[in-house]
Structure formats: structure tokens, C-alpha cells
Symmetry: C2
Subunit: 109 residues, 2 copies
């Protein structure tokens, strides 16, 4: 795998409800494609396509076990997202302070 997943890619992947549902299922443990599809209102190929995106974003990894391809949650994507949000969070907090101070001076009511 080895790509550093970008936050943008992760957020794009997480932007779809079905993909989120897939991830939620995978959160409880590895599953095969057919098993995932059986719990969702979409076809198996659809799930395959979503898994490809999730994999590209570093959110899942694949492991083959016979004819079954077991997918599981990958920490990498989540980590990338957390890092991104962390940065955003601190920057935003700093800005909040600045703005709050400026507003108390200028004080338009």
C-alpha cells in the first residue's frame, strides 16, 4: 500500500453514505465483499467499487483468503484525517481568540 493518504482523498471517500456504511460494518471486524453487500441495499459490484475507493484513501486494507477477499479498517486513512483535523482545529482556535479580541475592541453591537 504505502501511499500516504491525503486528507482530501479520505474526506472524498467519506463523503458517500454507502461507503460510510461499509466502514461502519468493517469497524466490527474484517469481512468479505459478499457479506458486506448482503447487509447493504446495493449490489456486490457496487460494494467492490466502494472498497476500491476506500482502499485508495487508505481507509481499508485487503487480505485474500481463498476466494474470499477480506477487507478491514486501516489505521492510515483515519490517522491522516485526524492529523488534518487536528491542524485545522488548532488554527481555528487561534483565530477564534484573535477575532474575539478584535471584536471586543471594535465592538459593533
Amino acid at each position: 500500500m504505502a501511499y500516504l493518504s491525503s486528507a482530501a482523498e479520505v474526506l472524498d471517500a467519506l463523503g458517500d453514505p454507502t461507503r460510510r456504511a461499509v466502514l461502519e460494518l468493517l469497524r466490527d471486524g474484517p469481512r468479505a465483499v459478499v457479506d458486506i453487500a448482503s447487509e447493504l441495499p446495493v449490489s456486490r459490484p457496487a460494494v467492490s467499487q466502494h472498497l476500491r475507493v476506500l482502499k485508495g484513501a487508505g481507509l481499508v486494507t485487503e487480505r485474500k483468503d481463498g476466494t474470499r477477499h477480506l477487507y478491514r479498517v486501516d489505521r492510515d486513512g483515519l490517522a491522516a484525517l485526524r492529523t488534518y483535523l487536528e491542524g485545522f482545529w488548532t488554527d481555528a482556535l487561534a483565530t477564534f481568540k484573535e477575532v474575539a479580541e478584535q471584536e471586543q475592541e471594535g465592538g459593533t453591537a
Copy 2:
């Protein structure tokens, strides 16, 4: 104000590159719609529509100053997302452990 924003709503909002760009701009401080639009390759109405979504997700708040509507980053949406991810993170970690114990394999394929 700011309804309890759901993680799904936040992730949907963050799923669009332009909206992310808007947020990035807002990260450095409050801005009026026209100012945001001037820095992006889309029209002002497009920005307005994106801001509506971001607001619905609890990611920005609006403050009117004359004819200018100043938007700024809202902590609520970010907090909701962080909470969601936090839960996901811990659940996933727990699952990793379980799975790791059940299988005796390691390494990224």
C-alpha cells in the same frame, strides 16, 4: 444555536473540494461571501450555496454586518466530527487487537 450537527452531515459537507477550500479560507478569520468568492474559481452564488451546506452541518456561523454577511468557522461541526472519529478510532483499535490475536500474521500485504 447550531443544532447538534451529525457526523454524517459534516462528512457530506466536507466531501466537496470547493467547500473544503471555503473552510480553509475561513480558518484564517471571518470573511464576507464576496471576498470568499473572489479567491475561488466559482461564482458568488455558488459560494452562497456552499455556505448554506456548511452552516447546516454546523461548520460555519453567520453574522451580519450591514450588507455583508460574515462567515466564520464554527467549532460545533468540527467537534462532532472529532467525536465521531474518536469513537471510530477506539472501536477500530479494539478490533485490531482482537483480530491480531485470532490470527498470527502480521505485515502489510
